[in-house]
Each structure stands twice: as structure tokens, then as C-alpha cells.
Amino acid sequence: MIAQAVIQQFEKVVGKSNVLSDRAELVVYECDGLTFHKSLPEAVLFVNSADEVANVIRIAHREEIPFLARGAGTGLSGGAVALEGGLIIEMARMKRLIKVDLDNRYAVVEPGLVNLELSKAISHLGYYYAPDPSSQSACTIGGNIAENAGGPHCLKYGMTTSHVLALEIALPNGDLVQLGAPFGDPLGYDLVGLFVGSEGTFGIVTKAWLRLTRMPQQVRTILAAFGSIRAAADATSRIIAAGIIPAALEIMDKVTIETVEASVYAAGFPIDAEAVLITEIDGLAAGMDVWAERIQDICRAAGAFKTRLAGDETERAQIWKGRKGAFGATGRLNANIYLADAVVPRTKLPDIISKVCEIAAQARIKVANVFHAGDGNLHPVFAYNGQDKEETERMLGACREVLRICVEAGGTITGEHGVGFEKIDFMPLIFSATDLAMMQRARSAFNPDQRLNPGKVLPTRKSCGEISELGTILRKGYDFHPV
């Protein structure tokens, strides 16, 4: 427990009304978007400025209290869960858009700003912020930076890391440090690049310089309906092979289409299709129709029985509303859903998706497949009843099996959602003890006492041994049952 005297010190920094330490109030903060790992913080502090963050951290550092930052809590790997109790520093109120510099094409924002709010605030200038996670209407820039968030359009525009130019962070000892500059190349080590994706374990972002992207002159969105998910996946490979890098290439399977169409996100997706492929291209108007035509030809050649070009902006917006709402819509499949995240080389997708369906069928768990096909990032959504322990375990077993086959196919265990502590046990599947030791070296440079967001990303030494055993078992393809 944090001593009352220390709580009072925090209150002095942020104000009494900005400190929660009542058990009842803390329950909201016991988990993030990954609901089956829960742990209560001892206090939650709402901060309003970088100085407050720094001062709070200094106290925590001195009192040896573990702490972590939380944005919107939409993370899906347990990143914002206070595993060892301690403090949660809630960043949501630091949400100012500080500056827009169009001459140098960047914006300066506070970390609590919601992703979509940034794009909305600058759209009248003809610019937007490119990374577009499906959760963009809720998640914060700070959370995005921590997780190196992606989204459908990252296929062409890159993940968050390609859009963060410089940062101001509070280190775990309370020092405020500026990393990088909003122009040119980094001088010295690329600390910004290293920081992005560090899952809240290197420091707390208090300010960010973000690259702004000019809105494309034209956008074309093509919907293609297929008789099989394999054919849709095959079409994506052919599009890439034709030398086209679309802005987005997304696939949704029949289960997803049906749930979306029965929900408020209904977008007119063909319910007679086994899979739809959404291809979006953007850029200059000149030549755009050539590409659009070519993509439709490729889809038809790959077996699409219907292709449709979105007629106008409304139709296009509708399609994306459907796609981005897919995860939410699948909520109706069962009491609980679990959104998995893994990546394979894109040519392996057709095989992997078939296997995912087999694995789910074997585990008797309903699965909806919706994924970023262009970069091989699959997101099977497993529907289960969390009250049913046995079913939950079957579901988890299926997830692990999916990760295993993805790694076996040359892929990786997370493409967007991060390791958090959800996937810590799987790190040895893809990284050797030496690889992990190097990551630890990087972390200790920032967070030597491991007081910031402990228990995330890297397996502890102790569990490492046990886990590498597990890793060996998994690697051998041993039929692994959840514990």
C-alpha cells in the first residue's frame, strides 16, 4: 500500500480531486482492452502538464513505487495494467494540440490527444495524421507511440514509427528529456525510433512532434467479393506482384461480413460472399483509374465474382465504417471476444487462414477473420463465453496454436498490439536468450530500476528458463494445452 503521507504528496502535485485511491474507483483501471488479465493499481493520478508528470515520477522514484502511464486504455496486450500495483498516471487530460507547422509539415501535440481528433483538427488545412488504428476514435497518441500502432493504411504509409519526429519524455527518474528534432536526421542514436514501440517501459511521453501527411488528391476504394477466403488472399498477392502498393488491402471473411451487416456498421458488404477484399489506392488523380481498372481485373482473374468501385465519398466512408467497426460488431457473436494479432509473410496468408479456421473448428470456437492482408497481419476474432472456464481455455489454446503456426511460417507474434504481458511467454518462440538480453540492455539505459511499467515485454530471468522450455515444446509442434 502507498502510505497516506505519500498520497498527500501526490495530491500536492496534481490536486486532491485528481487522485483516486478508493478501491471502488480503482476498479475501472484494473485492466485495459485485454479483459482477462486484471490487477488493481493503488492509486490513479490525473495529470495536466509535463511538469506534473515529472514531479509525480520524482516522488514515485524516491519512494520506490512502480508506476505506468495510461492513455485511453484500449491497448490489447495488457500494457496499461498495473501488475505490481503502484500508480497509474492517467494522461487523457493532456490533450492539447499545441502547434501546427505546415511549412515543415508537423504538429506538436500532448500525448492524451485522441488520434482521430488530430486529423479532424487539421483536415481543413488539407492534411491528416496517417496512422489509423481501428480504435482511432478512442485511443491516444501517447498509447499509439508506446505501441507503435498500425492501421489499415499503414500498408502504404507505415506504422506510427514513421510518423513520429521528436518526443519530449519523462524518464523513470523524473527527468524531462527531448529526443530528436522535427526535421533532418537524428544526431547520434535514433532515440525516437527506439522509443516508439517500447510499450510504456522506457519513459512517459509528455509531448510529441508528429509528421502530417497531405490528403491525397484522389482515393479509390474497390470492394471485391470472393467465393473463398483463399481466393481473396491470393488476389492480394497478385496485386502486390503487379507492382501496386495500395494504401490499404483488407480482408473480411463471411462470419465478419454477416456480423457487420447485422450491426449499426452495416456497409452493404455482399453477404453471399465467403470473403471480401477492400483495396484502397490513393494519390494523384492522373493514372488512378488505370490502377483501379487493373486491380479489378486482377481480382476477377483471382476469382472475384463481383467487384465494385465505391461511387463517392459517402460510400467509401461507409465501407471503412464497416471495416473499422468489425471488431466491435463481432461482440454480438458471444459473451466475450478475443482479438488475436500475428503476422506472416504475405504469401503465406492463404495457408495460414485455412489453418486458423481448422484450429478454431477443432477447438469448437467461433472465429471471425478480419485482417490487414497487404502486410500479412492477421486478426482472428475468437468468440467465447468468459463465464465458461473450459471454453475460455479452449479458446486460449486455439490462440496459442495460431501464434505457433505463424511463427513456424516465418512470422511473428504481434504486428500491432504489442507484447504487453499477454505475449511475454511467447517471446522465446521468436527470440533467443541473447536477443532478449540485447533488448534488456536497451531498456536498462532508460529504465534501470524497472520501476516504470514492470513485468512487460521481456520475460523475467526466472520465467525465461521455464519459458524457453515451453518455447522448445511449442517449436516442436507439441500439442500444447493451456494451463
Binding site: 528529456v177 514501440g197 492522373a286 493514372g287 502486410d375 527470440f431
Partner: protein, 432 residues
């Protein structure tokens, strides 16, 4: 095996390990004795960094030169660090693909060297730096361990992104032995347009207009009159008028290139004071390679070639050009200035005979003043190439431009990865 002087220092031993085992043995031994190791790829940028005090081992990556795994359909490739960038590009070209970088020393540099120095050329305006294309790496560490970072897939957030740390670390954290890249399909067509301006302020205005327009250039390369004259010389013609010139390059479908050229001339430029010439396909083909190779071609005939890179927000580019001009007069050499205008990266090349050395004081003072001028807004000036007599008198990085806190983090990283500082000791920022 090539032995070379690095800033006038002769390495005590020169090796080219045949495989990782041999390599790691060397590293373990070196670390035990706290020796200084300088990894070398193409050997084009060995003089980057502060002047070394001594070098125990110069280690060439010549035997690590294979393309290991290329999956055109996945748009990924794994290549050993010693492989020449050009060799890789040629292989990718067979499948209509490429890596969109055109760094200095394009024909000679190795993949490992380019990644280690995160060096880039004009294309970086549209396509970003090399670090954005590295999806995985294999590193040999000071203690002889080999580790991997990242993977072979284009999207990956499993663990910390150490590739970003290693890219641009100038061989001070370990030795890159392998790199996995994501690659791109080669654009169908390429083209460019040259716009001349009477003054820098006209040029900057023109550049802003282009950036704010719907045009999608690959590169915005601003060159002073002298640099343009050099290009003319190189192509043995005077197609370009030797004035302050912005080269705007694009690569798209033919329709899109045609449209952009027209849009530029009809709608973007009229509101500015620039005069545009569309380069025909043939001229583009002849000219552009010399734009990319500007630096190395300058090196050939010159006795002295001192190269500096100044990074500033775009609005200050003009100031840098002016200061360079001023310095040229004071040094009585010939100065060429080019600039990746969209990124605020200015290169200035001072050439001349050995008399330059007599004016070292002037040069050093100018650098100092330039640094003072630019640190206020986060800019910096690096001396990329200069004779040892200059380098031993100045921190070539201008490390003072880095915040205290960042410097501390960098030192901590160096200490954690290379506790005895065997890799390129003292040559990087903050003398790490």
C-alpha cells in the same frame, strides 16, 4: 586485403573474417584486451566520425556479401552486410523491385555501411530514410554474441525495435552482419523538372508552393549555380542554366508524370518567380545519376574536399547557403552547395588545394558560428569529411546540439552494448 589510413591512422591489423565464428572469435579477443575495432563494408565512409586515437583491428566484411533470401512476392530480402548496395539493387531490379535509396557512394557502399550510417540521398524526401526499410538485423556484439532484432515480416512489434537503434549507430554498438529489408515495386516511369530562381527567397517560396500543392515529388534537390555548372560539365552539355536550381523528380505512371509536369508549369509556378524546364526522358537518364553521385564525382579531381552537412528547418536553408558563400570567399576555395530541400538537409562541399589548410582557423570559426546559430532551433552541423589536421581540433558532430538528457541516454546505451568501447572508440557523438 585493403589496408587504409583512417584520418591518417594506420590500423595495426587488417582482417576479413570468413564467417561469423571467426568474426566472433576476433571480437572476444579484442574485447578481452580492450582493443579498438573498426568494422568496414565498402570502405566509403571510414573517415566518418571523430579522428580515432588508434585502431587495433580494421575488419572488412568482404566475406559477408551474399544475398541470402529474396522473396519477390513478399517484397522482402535478406542480405549480408558486406554486399554492395548496387549488387542488391541489380538483383532486385530483375524482379522489377528496388530499395528507394540513393545514398552517397551509391556504386561502392555496402548495405551494412549504408544502414550503419543511415545515409540517404535525394529520394529520402518521399520515401524516408533507410531505417524505415529495415525490418530485421543480425548483429555481432562486443562479447562475441550474435543476436537478431526484428524479423522477416513487414509489420512487427514483437519486442523493442532495436533495428532503429542499430541503424545510424555508425558501427559503435556492434557489427551488422545481416539486414532484412522490405522493398518496393519499381515505379513504371521517372522524370524530372528543373526550376531556376534568381534568389534564395524566391526558391524557398517556390519549394513551399510545391510542397503545399497536390504534386507528389520524390525529391526536391536544390543546387547552387556552381553545382549546376558541375553537372553540366559532367554530362558534357549546357542543358541546365547555371543558376540556383531546384530539381524536382518524380516516379509514377507516365500519365501521372505528365500531369505533374504540366500542373507544375501551369498552376504551381506562375505564382512564383521560378522558371521551369521539363527534362526530357533522355536528359533525365543522363543527368540524374550525376545528381546522386555528386559527391564522389567531386572527389575525383580535387586535392582537398571537405564535406559538411547542416540540418535546419526549411526556413533557414537560405541562411546556410549564404554562410557557405561567405566561407568560400574567406577560404579562397570553391564551394558547392546542394540541399535535400524538403528535409532541411544541406550539404556543402569545399574544394581547393592545400592552401585550404592554411586557413583552418577560419574554417573552424565558421563552423562554430554556424553551430551557435543553428542549435537554438535544434539544427546541427556535422563535418563529414576533412583532413586529420582539421578533425583533431574539433568535435566533428557538434554534439552540443544534443540535449543533456539525450546524451546521457546515448552514453548509457553505449555502455550497455559495448562496455569496453571497443567499437569505433571515441568517434561518435559525445566522444562515445
Amino acid at each position: 586485403m585493403r589496408n587504409v589510413l583512417i584520418d591518417g591512422i594506420k590500423p595495426k591489423s587488417v582482417t576479413a573474417p570468413k564467417n561469423t565464428t571467426e568474426f566472433c572469435r576476433l571480437l572476444v579477443e579484442a574485447e578481452k584486451q580492450s582493443q579498438v575495432v573498426v568494422p568496414a563494408g565498402g570502405g566509403t565512409k571510414l573517415d566518418w566520425g571523430n579522428r580515432p586515437t588508434h585502431i587495433d583491428h580494421l575488419v572488412w566484411m568482404d566475406h559477408f556479401n551474399r544475398i541470402l533470401d529474396y522473396e519477390p512476392a513478399d517484397l522482402t530480402v535478406t542480405v549480408e552486410a558486406g554486399c554492395k548496395l548496387i549488387t542488391l539493387q541489380n538483383e532486385l531490379a530483375k524482379h522489377g523491385q528496388y530499395l528507394p535509396f540513393d545514398p552517397p557512394f551509391y556504386d561502392e557502399c555496402s548495405v551494412g555501411g549504408v544502414v550503419a550510417c543511415n545515409s540517404s540521398g535525394p529520394l529520402r524526401y518521399r520515401y524516408g530514410a533507410i531505417r524505415d526499410y529495415v525490418i530485421g538485423m543480425r548483429m555481432a556484439h562486443a562479447d562475441g554474441q550474435i543476436s537478431k532484432a526484428g524479423g522477416r515480416v513487414v509489420k512487427n512489434v514483437s519486442g523493442y525495435d532495436l533495428c532503429k537503434l542499430y541503424a545510424g549507430s555508425c558501427g559503435t554498438l556492434g557489427v551488422i552482419t545481416e539486414v532484412n529489408f522490405k522493398v518496393l515495386p519499381r515505379p513504371v516511369a521517372e522524370g524530372a523538372c528543373a526550376i531556376t530562381f534568381d534568389s534564395m527567397s524566391d526558391a524557398l517560396e517556390g519549394i513551399q508552393k510545391i510542397i503545399q500543392s497536390p504534386l507528389l515529388p520524390d525529391a526536391l534537390e536544390l543546387m547552387d549555380a556552381g553545382a549546376v555548372a558541375r553537372l553540366n560539365q559532367k554530362i558534357c552539355a549546357d542543358w541546365l542554366s547555371p543558376r540556383l536550381t531546384l530539381l524536382v523528380r518524380w516516379s509514377e505512371l507516365e500519365e501521372a508524370i505528365a500531369w505533374q509536369s504540366k500542373e507544375l508549369v501551369d498552376r504551381v509556378l506562375p505564382s512564383t518567380k521560378g522558371e521551369a524546364t521539363i527534362l526530357d526522358a533522355e536528359l533525365f537518364k543522363v543527368l540524374w545519376p550525376h545528381v546522386v553521385r555528386f559527391r564522389e564525382e567531386l572527389a575525383e579531381p580535387c586535392k582537398q574536399l571537405w564535406v559538411c552537412r547542416t540540418v535546419v528547418p526549411m526556413a533557414y536553408i537560405g541562411e546556410i547557403f549564404e554562410r557557405a558563400r561567405e566561407l568560400e570567399k574567406q577560404m579562397r576555395g570553391v564551394m558547392y552547395v546542394t540541399c535535400h530541400a524538403g528535409n532541411g538537409i544541406v550539404y556543402w562541399y569545399l574544394t581547393g588545394g592545400d592552401v585550404l589548410l592554411e586557413r583552418a582557423e577560419v574554417f573552424l570559426r565558421a563552423i562554430e558560428q554556424l553551430r551557435k546559430f543553428s542549435t537554438g532551433f535544434g539544427g546541427y552541423t556535422i563535418i563529414e569529411s576533412a583532413p586529420p589536421a582539421i578533425k583533431q581540433r574539433i568535435d566533428i558532430w557538434g554534439s552540443a546540439a544534443i540535449s543533456e538528457g539525450s546524451q546521457r541516454l546515448m552514453r548509457a546505451l553505449k555502455d550497455n552494448f559495448d562496455p569496453k568501447h571497443i567499437f569505433n572508440r571515441g568517434r561518435f557523438v559525445g566522444s562515445i
